[in-house]
Amino acid sequence: MNTPIRRLAVVAMLMFAALLLSTTWIQFVQAEDLRETPGNRRTLIEGYSRDRGAILVDGTAVARSERTDDELEWIRRYDQATRYAHVTGYYSFTYGAGLGLERARNAVLAGTDDSLFYQRVTDLLTGEPPAGASLEITIDPDVQAAAQQALGDRRGAAVAVDPRTGAILAMVSSPSFDPNTLSSHQLAAVDEAFVALTEDPARPLVNRALAGDLYPPGSTYKLVVAAAALESGDFQPDSELEGGLTYTLPGTTTELPNFGGAACDPQDRPTLAESVRVSCNTSFAWLAGELGADALREQSQDFGFDQDLQVPMTVTPSTYPEAPDDAQLALTGIGQHEVRVTPLQVAMISAAIANEGVVMEPYLVQTVRNSDLEVIEETGPGQLSRAVSGSTATALRDMMVSAVESGSGQAAALPGVAVAGKTGTAEFGTEGAAHGWFTGFAPADDPQIALAVVVESATDDWSGETGGVVAAPVARAMFEAGVQR
């Protein structure tokens, strides 16, 4: 019986050999892939076991990691949660790093980025617990607070940039949410909160300032049209335009009226500067036809349209329609018909005018510091493009100043500070509803802050809420907070 027993021993050894092989396969060959499998809770917990870097505004943390007693070791806390929700985003055990900087700079915050390689090696050698890098961001807490408070419960967005550098000073999207509800370790409650946020018809998780549905820019787009007109060399600020009570869209019988049906000029021949000041629809519809779609598209692109921007969150590119017919071309002149923009793009238009025609690349992260507080990344101002010549910029600035002094944007005026601005009221859908816009910068002669505010019409029943009425006061509050006097 010994021969079969020996064979049985061989069979048993083969079985153990198979187990050694399968163990090697899983724990060595496939281990990395298995660790990266989506939903691997151990990998998620590992991420939590590291001290994730903070997000700092002017020295104060708006997102930070705090030690806990439970299995996950660290919990993410957001002070001033709703005010900064769209800047920080959230860091959730179940849903991962989402939105905002938490997602856009996840690797740096988590400490897994390549730029932190030496830090990791040093930590390993010195026995320091691994920690992520922190972000110091460009937000001005006063402007951010002013924007959030002024917007209040209304849906919309407000963005402010430093026109000289492109640094983003404020970024508010309303309605907001509380990222603490998603970073909590009460996982069942987190699930509930996440479902509620995603199913909310007001869509609080959408960052309307740069990645929401694009908005029609309305009359704020007249700045681009005016810029194209001045750049073409065929028009000066005092060039007279055709601007009657109504404008018949070419090829149709549709009559385009001015806002409120008023005349732009007693002789129906407003100048370009006057057309900007009173926001004349008929003259800009006519002007768009004179300039042509290509000129408008190119001018738009010079301001940043069609560009993929990372601030570091991805910005949805703003667009000018592909091939409008003549009637549609006329409508693009007043920022209607499929001209689509983000509030950040509109702020960049004002910023370019403020910065003598140069568009600066917008950015949110000023400094990245590792856990030893050494700077590992520093963002400096970068030029994106030249939108218009210096003289065109000056001419546009003067028009915007008069719009606030005596035109449609008076609600944004600030005592003792020259404010340049342009209102907009963008109709959308078939009838009635409209978004109120304001864009501008201040002080006009020494620009420190350029911004764009959009307030969505809450109902389909629009009742005269023009940009001058609803958006300009928000801008005014932001100017007041942001201008150094």
């Binding site: 010994n2 079969p4 050894m13 187990l19 050694l20 724990q27």
Partner: protein, 461 residues
């Protein structure tokens, strides 16, 4: 000072191995103590103050059994006890570690119950060694063993005592205790198989005609294997227990093969197994689930049990996270069916290799005992029991690591669960008894005439 006197007695050269055993048992207890301290430091940042108590209690059991061996089985294999001690101790440490992860203290967790079971199991092993002074007595109870085995197997099906846990009817409730009688049935059935086959092996191996180079048995000799097969299928159908079913059938085919030395039995056994497997796959939804889970553990809309185990193993990587530093509780059943995945996570591939080598040694020592045994019954019994251990490790670890579809079985000595511990310690006791019989020098056997009178000699093959 005494000097060694020259002697002509040759038996002095036969080493009992008891000293080696004692050293190795102490070594095993030392490793377990280190592992326990390791868990305490990793989870509480402090040296566990109860280490002397707990390791002391645990260590007392195998040391007592060592004493029994010195008294009743001096020539037993010296490696079996240390191997079982180490595996059992490591299992206790891991169960304790999982208690800690679940917030249970040393006295309120599963580990303290497992420690109690360890004491009981080792006591049973000692009792086996004391009562069964010669394993050949067991041959007298061949058919009693069969009856006991069948009753034990079917006990969970009874309405009052039977208990269904996790969709399988494998447990019997006796007072506060839940027993898995299938584990003990394993031993009873091995005794039956060995006793039955040692008597009928001639008929089964010599008669029959050749077909395609195989010696096929007569139709009426097919009876036993068909009964065993039917029994396995019955377990599968009634108790939905794939693992035990596979284990019993594999065990029977192995013992049949050793008894008859006929490869044809393996071919027939394999054919029956494949037929049974295909039939089971077609008839039972839960078998199909297991197969799809095996082929693609990450597919959506099914259990993530296998996937979680794989992720745990991967998390451990080559060197493991260290005891107390992983997240074994994420896996389902981290202290019972999936305890090997818990070890893989915290001790890594290296640690798992170590555990597999421990099992490999245990099986190898068992099979060596079978080869050394002087008579057929002992050979079959030792080979059957050793192979059971190998097969059981293969079925459960292979299920976890995707060599075969996952079926629930306990991991010998490691898994939490009293019945399994009890059964495996009795198996070790029987192997010790057979090896003692095999290694005992002729001179000493003559010095024990009562034994020889009680048990007439057999001719060893």
């Amino acid at each position: 000072m005494t000097t060694a006197r020259p002697s002509t007695v040759t038996s002095l050269h036969v080493r009992s191995g008891r000293l080696v055993e004692l050293v190795l048992v102490l070594f095993a207890i030392g490793i377990v103590a280190l592992a326990y301290v390791n868990v305490g430091i990793a989870t509480r940042d402090a040296l566990p103050t109860d280490v002397w108590w707990h390791v002391g209690i645990f260590g007392a059991f195998p040391l007592a059994l060592h004493g029994v061996l010195r008294w009743r089985a001096r020539y037993a294999d010296p490696l079996l006890l240390p191997l079982a001690t180490l595996l059992n101790g490591l299992g206790l440490v891991m169960i304790h570690r999982i208690d800690v992860a679940r917030g249970l203290g040393a006295t309120e967790g599963v580990a303290s119950r497992q420690l109690m079971w360890t004491g009981l199991a080792v006591a049973m092993a000692a009792a086996t060694l004391v009562v069964v002074r010669d394993h050949r007595v067991l041959r007298r109870y061949t058919f009693t063993a069969m009856a006991v085995g069948f009753v034990l197997l079917l006990l969970p099906m009874l309405p009052v005592v039977g208990q269904e846990i996790n969709g399988s009817r494998l447990w019997v409730r006796v007072g506060p205790l839940s027993l898995q009688p299938g584990e003990l049935a394993k031993i009873a059935l091995t005794i039956f198989f060995a006793g039955y086959l040692v008597s009928t092996r001639d008929a089964l191996s010599l008669v029959g005609r050749r077909f395609l180079g195989l010696q096929l048995p007569r139709a009426r000799d097919l009876g036993p294997i068909l009964v065993a097969w039917g029994l396995s299928v019955l377990i599968l159908v009634l108790q939905r227990d794939l693992g035990s079913s596979l284990l019993f059938f594999g065990l029977f085919v192995a013992v049949l093969y050793v008894a008859t030395e006929r490869t044809s039995w393996i071919v027939i056994g394999m054919a029956l197994f494949v037929a049974g497997a295909v039939l089971a796959w077609q008839l039972f939804g839960h078998v199909q689930q297991r197969v799809t889970l095996w082929l693609d553990p990450f597919a959506a809309g099914q259990s993530d049990q296998v996937a979680k185990g794989l992720m745990g193993l991967a998390h451990g990587g080559i060197f493991g996270t260290g005891l107390g530093e992983g997240y074994p509780t994420i896996t389902y059943f981290p202290a019972s069916d999936y305890i090997v995945a818990s070890f893989g996570e915290e001790l890594g591939m290296i640690g798992l290799f170590g555990i597999l080598v421990l099992y490999g040694l245990l099986v190898e020592r068992g099979l060596r005992t079978a080869i050394g045994a002087r008579e057929g019954f002992g050979k079959l019994l030792a080979a059957g029991m050793s192979f059971t251990v190998a097969l059981q490790v293969f079925v459960i670890v292979g299920g976890i690591t995707r060599v075969i579809p996952l079926t629930g079985l306990t991991t010998p000595f490691l898994s939490s669960g009293g019945s399994s511990l009890l059964a495996n310690w009795v198996i070790v006791a029987l192997l010790l008894r057979i090896s003692d019989h095999a290694r005992r020098p002729v001179s000493e056997r003559r010095q024990d005439p009562t034994k020889d009178l009680a048990h007439p000699r057999e001719v060893a093959r």
